[in-house]
């Protein structure tokens, strides 16, 4: 295998990991605030179709991305309205959001099926991109790839260095206590949930404009669920989300390149790899219940009502 193939595999791993990173970092923030939104798959699909639709109609991918983030955030707002204000069960509502997003995106996306769209262009970083090997491997990606890294840095800083991040973590740990100290628990949870929605929408946008530039019904193919598993796997820590996402990206890409590498296994079995990998990592990380207890935001998935 030559170096170019290796670089190609590396670069496609990065690309496959990018939507996972974007969505998982958002989900991480909203879970750190104590809210479990299982509707990531739905928000990603709505983001994907919105970015594609707006991109194709307006000719501006940038507009498409803004629209995708807004659409994701709007879906999350709907979830927030139900779970945070109307106190519905978070698990059931998240499932509803996922199912709704699948239906909605398929419905709105009907006119866009089969249309072409221009792939988001790569933006080589001047000078660095010309370094042999490292240049093509690290510095010739599209903006969203760079953004995913920046988002990682921003989320890490926010959670561990900022006063607002401390409040968010405190709310996820014990919303009742935070409320008694006077923090607007519900409002902060709304913001966190909408942030998760926005990045999930953007992750979806990456699917339909960069990874496979087209719109197909259900094109996220379970990535929204994998993202949820990824956050558990990462024990709610940003750096591990990043590493986990690249691991998953690698598994996905391996499956595409396996046949090229002379592995003689039916393609269906290779396609199962990401899903099997998800189960395997869940088993590995959940094996010891203390790992989860120690790291999981203590109020995750529980409703909170200010009047008790």
């Amino acid at each position: 295998m030559n170096i170019d193939t290796l670089i190609l595999i590396f670069a496609s791993t990065v690309a496959a990991a990018t939507p996972l990173i974007l969505a998982a970092l958002g989900v991480l923030v909203n879970e750190r605030a104590g809210v479990l939104n299982l509707g990531v798959e739905g928000m990603m699909l709505v983001g994907a179709v919105t970015a594609f639709g707006v991109g194709v109609t307006s000719g501006s991918l940038f507009l498409g991305y803004v629209a995708a983030m807004s659409a994701g955030a709007a879906m999350a707002l709907l979830f927030g309205l139900l779970t945070l204000t109307l106190q519905t069960n978070q698990v059931a509502t998240g499932l509803a959001l996922a199912l709704f997003g699948v239906g909605l995106s398929a419905f709105v996306g009907q006119p866009f099926v089969g249309l072409p769209i221009e792939r988001v262009p790569a933006v080589p970083i001047p000078l660095l991109a010309d370094i042999p090997v490292l240049g093509p491997a690290l510095f010739r990606y599209d903006l969203l790839v760079y953004l995913s890294i920046a988002l990682y840095a921003a989320v890490s800083w926010f959670l561990y260095r900022s006063a607002a991040g401390l409040r968010l973590r405190a709310i996820g740990e014990a919303p009742g206590v935070a409320h008694s100290l006077g923090y607007p628990v519900v409002r902060i949870r709304y913001l966190a949930v909408m942030f998760g929605g926005a990045t999930s929408g953007l992750a979806g946008a990456y699917l339909s404009t960069a990874l496979t530039p087209m719109w197909v019904e259900g094109m996220s193919a379970g990535r929204g669920w994998i993202v949820l598993a990824l956050v558990v796997f990462a024990t709610w820590r940003p750096l591990r989300v990043l590493l986990g996402a690249y691991l998953f990206g690698g598994v996905t890409v391996l499956q595409l390149h396996a046949q090229g590498l002379g592995v003689d296994v039916p393609s269906e079995f290779l396609s199962m790899l990401p899903y099997l990998a998800t189960i395997v990592v869940l088993v590995l990380i959940c094996r010891n219940p203390k790992t989860i207890l120690l790291n999981q935001p203590a109020s995750l998935g529980r409703s909170f009502h200010p009047d008790g």
């Binding site: 401390l166 740990e173 206590v177 935070a178 008694s180 006077g182 923090y183 207890l293 120690l294 203590a298």
Partner: protein, 501 residues
């Protein structure tokens, strides 16, 4: 002489769907005064304090601060006025450090390093030293209370609200707390001291407002009153007490031998080599500040957690360590947990369905099918026998007051005629009448020959109903002694860990 009291409440009324928590409550606290808010559980003390601290809003009434009418819409506003509050159930975040916890409650932003040094300074100047970088979950209950107090002191409060502050402290720690509070009062800080413990109030407080059923039932100068007169104001009648007639204990029914168990809770306490035996016809009490392994010990006895070594728990002579909760119940064990809603009873289910929870063996299930008539009958007779105030046996468990639900649960377990009965915090948060009924039920059970183990934080209760006492500290159990040989001073020092191990 100040023209206005520091805090004055006029006609405060707060209604929740099922109860009228505060009904036209008036209250005045002067500068530098230690004022007791006295009342039994459910009298409306906590609601009133939440209103003063801005956590909830009154439906009617006025609040005056230094003579000016104010509306306190949030705890932040309360703190701006100069009101600090130390909650009964601490408002601390376990996974964060002391400094992070404190910074969350401060309204001004301060660089972490500067805050840490200020915490050290203030805490030491009041004789409450704490390390700002420690994680809260590694701290004892007393230390946590210190964090809460220091957090308030950092904001130089004019009024400090203490909600049942001694319920989690050893008698010695109570002394230290009182010293601190007196020192604060001498510096012109007002203290609103919420309690249902008459001795403490008489010792510490200058004045008192007594609440009963949401209303002010009287004001008093506690030092000039007796426990009986205060109790009458609080309960509206005389306090009755239950009596324990001496009785010879029988054979050992519950035995723990070298019980060692690691906690599953990352912030829990592991048990170390615990030895204990409880005999037929006696009540053994375990004192100790909660968080010293009580929940682990209870789970290990009840079978909610199985122990690797079968012989380390034996019930009526059978090695039971590896049995599950249902199997241990079949050996004659009954158990009343501390959490009534969600553990001792299913909140949304009716009392009849809740009877089925553990009493299914009492003929309520036949051939795998539920006999709902029998379950209703069981619930109905429990309600009658234990004076449970409930709509009917079809009322959901969560519609009952804490005391009535506890009577129902205790009644259900007692009516199973257990050979061994284990009870955790039998009267926690329960009104005086219900507490009396529950204690009497435990004594009757003992007199009928059952072995009873009671774990409680209320020392008065343990002294009232126990034949023998022991102390649990950091997962280790002291030796067990007849109650008469355990003066409160000794018990207190044991609760702080000063017993031979």
């Amino acid at each position: 002489m100040q023209p206005h009291p520091r805090l004055a409440l006029h006609g405060i009324t707060k209604r929740y769907p099922a109860v009228l928590a505060n009904d036209h409550v008036d209250l005045r606290v002067g500068a530098g005064e230690i004022h007791a808010l006295l009342g039994e559980n459910g009298a409306g003390k906590s609601t009133l304090m939440k209103i003063v601290y801005g956590v909830t809003q009154p439906d009617a009434g006025r609040i005056e601060w230094e003579g000016r009418p104010v509306t306190i819409r949030s705890p932040a506003e309360a703190r701006q006025l100069g009101i600090g509050m130390v909650f009964q159930h601490f408002s601390l975040f376990e996974t964060l450090t002391v400094a992070e916890n404190i910074s969350l409650a401060l309204d001004s932003r301060e660089p972490p390093a500067q805050l840490a040094s200020r915490i050290r300074e203030v805490s030491e100047s009041y004789g409450l030293p704490i390390d700002p970088l420690r994680l809260v979950h590694s701290m004892s209950v007393g230390e946590r209370q210190r964090v809460e107090i220091v957090r308030c002191l950092l904001q130089s409060p004019q009024l400090l609200i203490m909600d049942e502050p001694t319920s989690v402290l050893t008698p010695q720690a109570v002394r230290m707390l009182f010293d601190t509070l007196r020192r604060l009062a001498s510096q012109n800080v007002s203290i609103l001291y919420i309690s249902h413990k008459l001795d403490e109030v008489r010792e510490l407080c200058d004045t008192a407002t007594v609440l009963r059923g949401g209303r002010v039932s009287g004001t008093a100068t506690p030092r000039a009153e007796s426990n009986e007169s205060l109790a009458r104001m609080m309960v509206g009648g005389d306090l009755r007490e239950c009596h324990l007639t001496p009785r010879e204990a029988g054979e050992t029914r519950l035995e723990l031998r070298g019980l060692t168990l690691a906690s599953t809770d990352p912030f829990g306490t592991s048990l170390h080599s615990i030895d204990l035996n409880v005999r037929a016809g006696e009540i053994v009490g375990i004192a100790g500040v909660s968080g010293n392994g009580q929940s682990e010990l209870l789970a290990a006895i009840s079978g909610e957690r199985r122990v690797g070594n079968a012989a380390s728990v034996s019930i009526c002579g059978s090695a039971s360590g590896t049995l599950d909760a249902a199997q241990r119940r079949r050996l004659g064990l009954s158990f009343v947990p501390e959490e009534r809603l969600g553990r001792g009873a299913v909140p949304e289910m009716s009392l009849a369905d809740n009877a089925l929870l553990t009493a299914h063996s009492a003929g309520l299930v036949r051939n795998g099918l539920v006999r709902s008539d029998a379950a209703r009958e069981f619930a109905r007779s429990t309600i009658t026998a234990f004076d449970v105030k409930a709509g009917s046996e079809l009322s959901p468990a969560n519609s009952l007051s804490g005391g009535n639900l506890q009577k129902f649960i205790v009644g259900r377990e007692v009516r199973l005629k257990p050979k061994v009965m284990v009870v955790s915090q039998p009267t926690w948060g329960v009104d005086v009448g219900a507490a009396l009924r529950i204690r009497q039920a435990l004594i009757d059970l003992r007199d009928s020959g059952a072995a009873v183990l009671v774990i409680s934080e209320e020392l008065d209760e343990l002294y009232a109903i126990c034949d023998r006492l022991a102390v649990l500290f950091r997962g280790k159990l002291s030796s067990v002694h007849p109650t008469s040989q355990m003066p409160v001073e000794k018990l207190g020092s044991w609760m702080a860990g000063e017993f031979a191990q």
